[in-house]
């Protein structure tokens, strides 16, 4: 018999690409980012250690709090709304309908549209004067607002765009729904539960782990929202109503060349995401039903 490497060495060899990649493209950047966040760094000149000054500047920076606020508000509206919408649509699709492939394709396809193209389409639809949306509203006698031109309407507009691309969540929920054993529904029928009762008492508990996973991914995605608002307006639109965390981070790093401040923002973001994820897990421990 030939001599073989011990299993642990073989295992490490197989996963070594990931180890190298993780070291070079994640661990190193995160470590560097921590060092930069404690430095004055403009890219042009070497970093100079400044302690917590960048964090302090962020705390005193009204624009930082503005983007934080915008991002949180967006998350608080878009995530629950998106989850409910996706669940409802998945429920409809799960009703053993004819033409499922077609309906599913119609709902799913928008989530594949490149964000840049999606932004272009919606800017055009939201146009205050010639837009499709206001044209439709006019037909029923409503004078629509200037969706992306007014601070108050920016957030609702962005949420609408986000709802348009929930196709992936719908597909995930649909698969989860199809996995719920029919015997449970039959039992519920015997208990005399209605459609809503069954959805609430059987469906939701059964797919709660999937919902949890989706919500966590949505939280992470929300903190990254960039391309659509960036294309709608570089400077964040009227009164920075469309200015988000990642946009400000990008501006600090690549427009204002404050790599130090940008890195401090990155670290704050990382901690927030880890914190939120942990919190979601804690809350869910009581409410999420894992099948044995």
């Amino acid at each position: 018999m030939r001599w073989r490497l011990p299993e642990w060495a073989v295992g490490l060899l197989f996963i070594s690409p990931w180890l190298v990649g993780f070291g070079a493209f994640m661990a190193l950047p995160i470590a560097l980012s921590f060092w930069y966040s404690l430095s004055d760094y403009t890219i042009l000149e070497p970093p100079v250690y400044v302690g917590l000054e960048n964090y302090q500047r962020l705390a005193e920076d009204p624009v930082f709090w503005k983007v934080m606020w915008n991002t949180v508000i967006y998350a608080v509206i878009a995530i629950p709304l998106g989850t409910i919408f996706a669940l409802v649509i998945a429920g409809l699709l799960n009703a053993k309908v004819i033409g499922l492939t077609f309906f599913r394709a119609a709902v799913f396809l928008p989530s594949l549209v490149p964000l840049v193209a999606s932004a272009m389409i919606w800017i055009w639809i939201f146009n205050g004067e010639n837009g499709l949306l206001n044209g439709a509203l006019e037909l029923i006698g409503i004078r629509g607002p200037n969706w992306l031109g007014e601070a108050a309407w920016m957030m609702p507009s962005l949420v609408i765009i986000s709802l348009w691309s929930i196709g992936q969540a719908v597909v995930i929920y649909l698969a989860a729904l199809q996995d719920v054993p029919t015997s449970l529904y039959e039992a519920a029928d015997l208990d005399g539960m209605g459609v809503i009762g069954k959805f609430w008492n059987v469906t939701i508990p059964m797919i709660s782990p999937v919902i949890l996973f989706n919500v966590i991914m949505a939280i992470i995605a929300t903190w990254q929202i960039f391309a659509v608002p960036f294309i709608i307006s570089l400077d964040g639109g009227p009164e920075r109503s469309g200015y988000f965390y990642t946009m400000y981070l990008y501006d600090q790093a690549f427009r204002f060349l404050n790599m130090g401040v940008a890195s401090a923002m990155a670290w704050v973001q990382l901690l927030i995401i880890l914190g939120l994820t942990g919190l979601t897990f804690l809350v869910s421990r009581r409410t999420v039903h894992y099948r044995a």
């Binding site: 042009l44 205050g128 004067e129 200037n146 400077d235 009227p238 920075r240």
Partner: protein
Amino acid sequence: MTSQLSSNPGWGTLTRRGAIGAMAAGGLGFAVFGPRRAREAPTGRVVIDYWEKWTGQEGEAMRAVVDAFNEGQDRIWVRYFSMSAIDQKALVSIAGGDPPDVVGLINHHLPQYVSAGALASLEELEQTYGREVDASIERAFGPDDFELSEAYYTPKIWRLMRYNGQVGGAPGACTTMALYYDRGAFRAAGLDPDRPPRTIDELDAADERLAVREGDKLVQAGFIHKEPGWWNWVWGFHFGGRLYDAESNTATAVEDENVRAYEWVQSYPSRYGSTRLVSFQSGFGNYNSAQQAFVDGKVRMVFHGSFVANVIERFKPRLDYAAAPFPVDERVYDPDRPIGLVESDVLCIPRSAKHPREAWEFVRFTQRRENLESIARRHAKPSPLRLVSDGFGEGHPNRSIDVHNRIAQSDRAFPKPVTRVWPQYEQEFNANFDAFWRAERPARDILADIQGRAQAIMDADAAKRRRRAGAGAGGRPA
């Protein structure tokens, strides 16, 4: 679920596979054999890279000069690259030690670049290579009257090239901003097309006469501050205000002149209704199109640069337009000293450029009168030179180019505030312009917000500079 990932080839699957295969093969083929840009330089020449920020007609202006240079001599070859976000990309390439040899920036980039020691001083280059480069240019292209000094350029433009006592670059195309008005509409509204408004009050009066309402809707406006909306910070200057005091490094947005100016800005939405104005404006087409508000006749007077003439020429050549210095507050009106924003492209040579001598030779070539004037013409812009050639105005695409020349020559022409943090300061104006527009808060309060934040950024920046100077790390790039 994963077990569903199974393949059971049937007829449908096979044709589908064929289609996917064809797509993949087509894509791969396109990736390998697809279009590419030819930019081979002839062998035996020193190759230098030039980064251009303009596209389209404006980009072609410089390309023609590059071509003329490449053809006219046989020692240097300039490669022309079209860049976007050029200021960021250039800065970073300089930091990375692999910069272009020549880069076309704009004057307001200089403070940041020069402070960081990113640019070569043209005066030093001229001292080092001047004689041999002059000789080489004259041999290939004939004699010229170039000199790197205030004697050759319009004084205002020359001043834009300098920061901290260093000549950071040489001018490319330059422009000034003015009031563009529709003479036909003036006549129709009973206004004298040869007597454009000179003061803000006259502008308001003309605006009233030109505005057309249909019931609740505005269908034609006289003047709108937000068209095209590229200069939200500019209005105070036309009231005699300033935004920045370089001496004390302070933001001065709350000066009384500025407050008056932005109260004037607010008078428009309060007269027309801010929602109505915003909705009216969202129907405007893009700048470079026949639907642009001024070309289309939706707005009869606009604040614009000389370059707008190119768009008019393209989409509505019969439009009877003219330009005049933008109206100013009565208190600062002086017919001989017009007030107007002046800007200039700047051709810079990074300090770490690999071929400084050749870069200088190319920049030196662009500064010949015929080249600068040809660039200016193509951009529909005024000449950056002190002496305007006799033929320059004839056949110039902008029929009011004299007005722009006059503003450029005026001692009250003003540049963007010269501070390293201008990008942030300007962003404050852009972000807050809607607050002015909705007129829910007094102009003074909004200006105070802007000033407060701008000052905080300036102080932080100054503190950083001081610390770097103290640490002995300042000045030179890494």
